[in-house]
Symmetry: C2
Subunit: 340 residues, 2 copies
Amino acid sequence: MKQFNTLLLASLLSLQAQAADWKALPDVAPAPADNPNTAAKIELGKMLFMDPRFSSTGTVSCNSCHNIMEGGDDSRSVSMGVHGKTGGRNAPTVWNSAFHSVQFWDGRAPLLEDQAKGPVANPIEMGMKDVETAMNRVKKIPGYKNVFDKAFGKNSMTVDNAAKAVAAFERTLITPNSPYDKYVKGKGNAMNKQQIRGMNTFAEVGCVACHSGPAFNGPEQKLGEGFYVMFPTFNNEYVTKYKLDKDKGREEATGKATDRSMFRVPTLRNITDTAPYFHNGSVNDLGEAVRVMAKTQLNQTLPEKDVNDIVAFLGALTGEYPEITMPRLPATSGTSIIEE
Amino acid sequence: MKQFNTLLLASLLSLQAQAADWKALPDVAPAPADNPNTAAKIELGKMLFMDPRFSSTGTVSCNSCHNIMEGGDDSRSVSMGVHGKTGGRNAPTVWNSAFHSVQFWDGRAPLLEDQAKGPVANPIEMGMKDVETAMNRVKKIPGYKNVFDKAFGKNSMTVDNAAKAVAAFERTLITPNSPYDKYVKGKGNAMNKQQIRGMNTFAEVGCVACHSGPAFNGPEQKLGEGFYVMFPTFNNEYVTKYKLDKDKGREEATGKATDRSMFRVPTLRNITDTAPYFHNGSVNDLGEAVRVMAKTQLNQTLPEKDVNDIVAFLGALTGEYPEITMPRLPATSGTSIIEE
């Protein structure tokens, strides 16, 4: 987390922009001390992430809902798991998820290592009985043993190591060098005039109160400590129209009434690639999402010009996706492990 | 198809093996005259093949059932399409499908270009109303226009061109250099003794009557002309146990009683990576599949030693899968095109 250096270039930015303390995305994502990234772990993690055989039907992998060939999500309002089942929440993008200090909309997993275990045993996601049953599937695929050996040493085929590998891979899924990043690093023409205007409006109207920091997901936190904000804060016609108060947010995870409607602030990076929007995926247009946020969080009705400028600025947050080679998923050699 | 050269190396092979006219997989798959492969078409085809947004739910791509990170199928007895729906047939591998002269188990599509259009509008596969509706989705994704322009010229966003691109990509999905290929090209130690024994048994007992040629899917045919065989030919306890005669085969496609139980002969390449087996995916073990084939097609009960030798030989048909870079699927920019 030491890489979160501020790279202000005051001469190029307006006063408001300066005040917002704009930061570029670090080149490396933070990792916990007990799971430093290695090439072998990343390769194993990529295989596990892309392999659908650890879902009950053999049809759902991590990548099904967090498609890294797209914006790291699934273009759906709520995701579709095994047997066409759907839940109540929108799949957050996996891109730059390593810059979140907690995982899931309600922050119920402190680290990516913990998050990775969740969907596997969720009956409406990957639908396995439990993570150990999923791990038994991994063990039945002979080709995985050698990859675990390389990543973690002998006799290392455990749920915890599988989760560590997936998390290590996810920490490579970051998108630096957006027009915004280039701009704050000093390339004045990396953003156009409308985008710069939008950046200032974004700061002036107060979006930046929550969407701050290099990933636009709040102030820097220790891994495992979350930054939560009440959504919706102000009641209005959007709340009814988009059913924004139906989900209890973090209360679902903690059972505490004080956590009612509290959500982890999501990153805004690559947001043009991750429609539809909000925890329930109820809004399918980025302009409308900006209107809703201004009204429900800041109690403001923005002029359409400001909405358009902010949307233009948000478009400048789309970074460079790294090129990724498809993993070769080892065969079970003359038999299948999918029973459902 | 001129590349189907016989590369016999008589001195290394037994008399039976020679008699079988063993052929290595060509380095290039045949393509129809009106759709020669180009790099731009292949790139577009890869994108379309991997993109799940052309299914009604946004969850099913070509790759969902023909996973090129695995054996080109889905490890399931019968595939699972949108909303968890299932059909009656096993997904054939897309690897080396370019060496089939007709497509689908019943040969109802003459070319890969025709096949590519089928699953899109099938209600239990990708579930779109029709292929034009799917093409409208492609048109709504701004980033595809440029890729079509490069592949086919201006104003080229048509269903036919999309299908041509997918077919062009699929013609690159071939797996040469299996131990078998190396062996028949002269590398005597590329197969072990059991595999060589299995190869001879495969020829002696008569498997090679149907599973001949470089892809082990029958004699060379013109593209569009199929090689069909009745399955099952002999009635026995396996037919009942695995419900092998329930599917009417090619009769389903033609309506002709003479096509009852006729199936295109599938390739045996990479067969250890494509369990479960048969048109209905009813057999989950390659050894059992060999026993069933010997009994139902050749009316023979093979000694277990022969079964094991043939399985070992079939393992030598797994070739080299090419390394493939994940495509970057263009975003719809601040909106989603998935409604279901």
